[in-house]
Amino acid sequence: MAASNETMLKKPHVGKKRKPPTRYWEGTEKDGKNDGKKQKEGDNNEQTPQQNKTRTKEGGKRGGAGGKRGGAGGKRGGKLGKRAGGKRGGAGEKVISGKSDPFPGSALVPEEKLKKFKRGVKGELPPRPQYNLRDVVIRSEAASDLAQKQNARYDLMLPEDAGFLEGDKDEDTCTISQDDIADAVDITAGAKYFSLTLSQFGPYRLDYSKTGRHLLLGGRRGHVTCLDWQSKQLMCEMNVMETVNDVKWLHSEALFAVAQKKWLYIYDNKGIELHCIRKFNDVLRMQFLPYHFLLATASATGFLQYLDVSVGKEVVAICTKAGRLDVMAHNPHNGIIHLGHSNGTVTLWTPNQREPLVKMLCHQGGVRSVAVDKTGTYMVTSGMDKKLKVYDIRSYRPLQSYFLPAGASCLSLSQRGLLSAATGDIVQVYRDVWSTPVTKPYMAHRAKGSVWGVHFCPFEDVLGVGHGEGFTSMVVPGAGEPNFDGLDANPYRSAKQRQEWEVKALLEKIQPELIGLDPSQLSQVDHSTWEQRHEDRVQVLGFDPLAKEKFTPRLKTKGRSSSGKVEKRKKQVAHEDQRDVIRQTVEDRMKIDKERKEREKKEAAAAGQKSALDRFRK
């Protein structure tokens, strides 16, 4: 009785229930069938039912989660799913229960993600006899491949997505006002659109700190203030009672530099004057290179000066001989300073060279503003000729040229490649200026006064605009990098973390001598010429090992050291080292001559008949 009952029970419900629902990754009918078959085989085994049941449940859950993610991720997730599905469906490994694993092997990583983390190019393997070197190369390449794959995999799981703004049908995004955006987004993001009315001491220059948390404002008429702009907490506010030309945060939010009428000053975030640097006068623009701890300043007297802020020493002062320098940008990729001049040229400078590395004629009139993107690939310039030009600064070629009726006075590039250009009192933001010709701005906003400085906030969708009537913080969706690196620039770091970061950063301060056009040059093989190597060797040894010793004839007696005899002896050893070579070449030439003659003779013999004129030949 019991036995029959068992069979009765076993047959119906387990078999039916365990038919798996079709999954989105099971592209073909065939695979599904196969799975079914395997399951039926599994049925016969008395041990499996319980296990199988739990398995299918898990599978279902997993599938659901995956589906959700695919939906949210949009484009990226969908692509990945398709790619992965194609491969996984076919190869299924059997597990003990007889079912096949729908996800065999490790998950695939999309190609473009891998490309993002690629470093350098794979070289050729050294030939077999150098087996040691070959082994090292093979191992290190395998390690870098693994690192690349792991990085790409990690990149898929980053928590934040970038912002975006899309208009409705027939609606330009540039017509959407800031108020509409602020209403549409959540309350914290909406609070990032605000204005400060500071009409007394404007117009204002501004700078965001490296983490994007802190804002520094400097009014033309001496008003300097720094604040934590997200919490709107004022750190300090003062009036330096002098003209302020530019303001810049140094490596952390504890220090900032102010270029005042005569000298350069450094204050801490309480507003206490720490240094007045008298070596730096009439500074108009400043740039800070965070990894080098260098403050580069351009002055009205035409000097480009570098200040090492970690030790407080001037590194170098370069006289550019190009007049007043009020256009300056730095390339975040390689630390090179770009200066714009009134004759329409842009020059590139390092602290290691007194001459510009590159001089580019960019505009017909003077250059009004320069900006370089964070990968160091593109440079955007605007000039008095009302043009906005995009250059590829790897090859120094112009890519795009736009005509702006009012001309752009200030330019700024965001982390994700948005370009803001200020024309009069209007700030326009452009997208993808280098790849395709742009006809319309992405966003536009009218400030209350004429714009004096624009700056994108790092890691936020915010554009800070300093103008005659104060400061406006605009919301520009898609401007900031969504995922920051906690060890590099962490907006949420605590005081302790900041201190630790500061120590680490100071320890790995890059020396100014390492600034050059290609920052990765240090890792490449230096194929120095023989002459260079020889020179180095001479310098190391202190003498030239290959130098010829000057022949000094020995003093001989009995009239054999008369000047004539000495000259004769000198002649005997003169050009001794060349004699072998000369002898050899002479021999070679004779040999060739001989061969040629023999060949001619043979040819003549082969020709056979003698002509009538041969009798005159000797």
């Binding site: 969706p477 995922n483 990765s520």
Partner: protein
């Protein structure tokens, strides 16, 4: 209008309570980490500098002998035990963790010439100037018991060196001839001699355990097979070899320390030319010992220094010296690959770190990964001139510095002279002899 603006929830990025560790979200995007190579270079430079700052290799000095220390022996089973024998016949057993002597015994009249611990670690053998071989128990005798050898064999002549078989109760001594002994018998089971009257070192091969090699005073190195009645072959060099040591990992290679200031690594199969000539000492090399990994060896010299050589490099990677250390007579590399023991003339045994800048003791995981990381960086940038200069720099005593300079000048002069002679003699009559070939006279089979 569809809009999304970055709006992070601070709770995702800030720790909840003070007891938690800080959250550190990472993004490995290369464009967020500019100056990758210069920063790594700077780190490598710092790591190299710190390595030189922390290079303090000297650990301890074990004193207690009343005469120069002539020989040492490692214990095969216990890392902390080490034996040393001095020129007055005294033998001391040391505990290296406590850095103290645990047992002293008068082993011989005159020098203790050699000693070895048997492979099981229960007893050890000593040979001395009094023509005896003595076997001792490893254990300290109990209260009231006398220090007496288990076994004493009186030989016909002075024994100069002893080594034990790796697996069997067989040991080998040398003196006027090379004798192979069974632990149970009082007569040698086999004796080898090949036209010389004095050998100064004999060593069993650690892998091919029936093979052994000896250095003789007629400038030769002789190879034997224990199972055969006659020696296998010998190589005669320009000057005498003092000791030799087999590479424990590539046991077909052995390195011998020579009187001509050099060490030579030979391949047992091709004796006509050494595989590598290791130069840098400025006086006779007295002893050599391999690291248990077989990648490096350490040599002791009459010039009062110890040098560590990579096995396939012609020059040393490290030199140790102190003001007080005199001629170093015996050297051992500890079996855990971490320490070096040197015994010198002025009655002291010194304990050194094998890696001068290594931190001793347990490392925290983060510490360990930091060490590995900086090691890798140093390796990556090792050829950059600045880094190479710092990592190669060693301070030498003035006498050794000037002596090595003098040797270099002499060598250069000899080379120049040879070149000039070649230039002025009939082409082909002065063949080029490489440095490796120079030091071997002949191979006899």
């Amino acid at each position: 209008m569809k809009v999304k603006v970055l709006s992070r929830n601070p709770d995702d990025y800030v720790r909840e309570t003070k007891l938690d560790i800080q959250r550190v979200p990472r993004n490995y995007d290369p464009s967020l980490h500019p100056f990758e190579v210069p920063r790594e270079y700077t780190r490598a430079l710092n790591a190299t500098k710190l390595e030189r700052v922390f290079a303090k290799p000297f650990l301890a000095s074990l004193d207690g002998h009343r005469d120069g220390v002539n020989c040492m022996a490692k214990h095969p089973k216990s890392l902390s035990t080490m034996l040393s024998g001095s020129c007055d016949g005294e033998l001391k057993v040391w505990n290296l963790t406590k850095r103290e002597c645990v047992r002293t015994l008068q082993a011989h009249e005159g020098f203790v010439r050699g000693m070895v611990v048997s492979f099981c670690g229960t007893s050890f053998f000593t040979v001395g100037d009094d023509k005896t071989i003595k076997q001792w128990k490893m254990e300290t005798p109990g209260y009231g018991e006398e220090e007496e050898p288990l076994n004493t064999i009186l030989g016909k002549s002075v024994f100069t060196s002893i080594d034990h078989h790796q697996k069997e109760g067989v040991f080998v001594t040398c003196g006027q001839q090379v004798d192979i002994w069974d632990e149970q018998r009082s007569n040698p089971i086999r004796s080898f001699s090949w036209g010389v009257d004095s050998f100064n070192c004999v060593r069993f091969n650690p892998v091919e355990t029936e093979l052994l090699a000896s250095c003789a005073s007629d400038r030769s190195i002789v190879l034997y097979d224990m199972r055969e009645a006659t020696p296998l072959k010998k190589v005669i060099m320009n000057m005498r070899s003092n000791t030799l040591c087999w590479n424990p990992m590539e046991a077909y290679n052995f390195t011998c320390s020579n009187e001509d200031y050099n060490l030579y690594t030979f391949d047992m199969r091709y004796l006509d030319k050494p595989v590598t000539v290791h130069m840098d000492h400025v006086s006779a090399v007295l002893d050599v010992d391999y690291s248990p990994t077989g990648k490096e060896f350490v040599s002791a010299s009459f010039d009062k220094t110890i040098r560590i050589f990579p096995k396939d490099s012609g020059h040393s990677r490290e030199v140790y010296h102190t003001k007080r250390m005199q001629h170093v007579i015996s050297i051992k590399w500890s079996s855990d690959n971490k320490y070096i023991l040197s015994a010198s003339d002025e009655m002291n045994i010194r304990l050194w770190k094998a890696n001068a800048a290594e931190k001793l003791g347990l490392l925290a995981p983060r510490e360990k990964s930091a060490v590995n990381y900086s090691q890798k960086l140093k390796e990556k940038f090792q050829h950059h001139p600045q880094i190479r200069r710092i990592s190669r720099h060693r301070h030498l005593p003035k006498s050794i510095y000037s002596q090595s300079k003098e040797l270099r000048v002499m060598k250069e002069a000899r080379r120049r002279k040879e070149r000039n002679v070649r230039k002025h003699s009939k082409p082909g009559s002065m063949p080029v002899v490489t440095e490796k070939e120079k030091h071997v006279v002949t191979v006899v089979k």
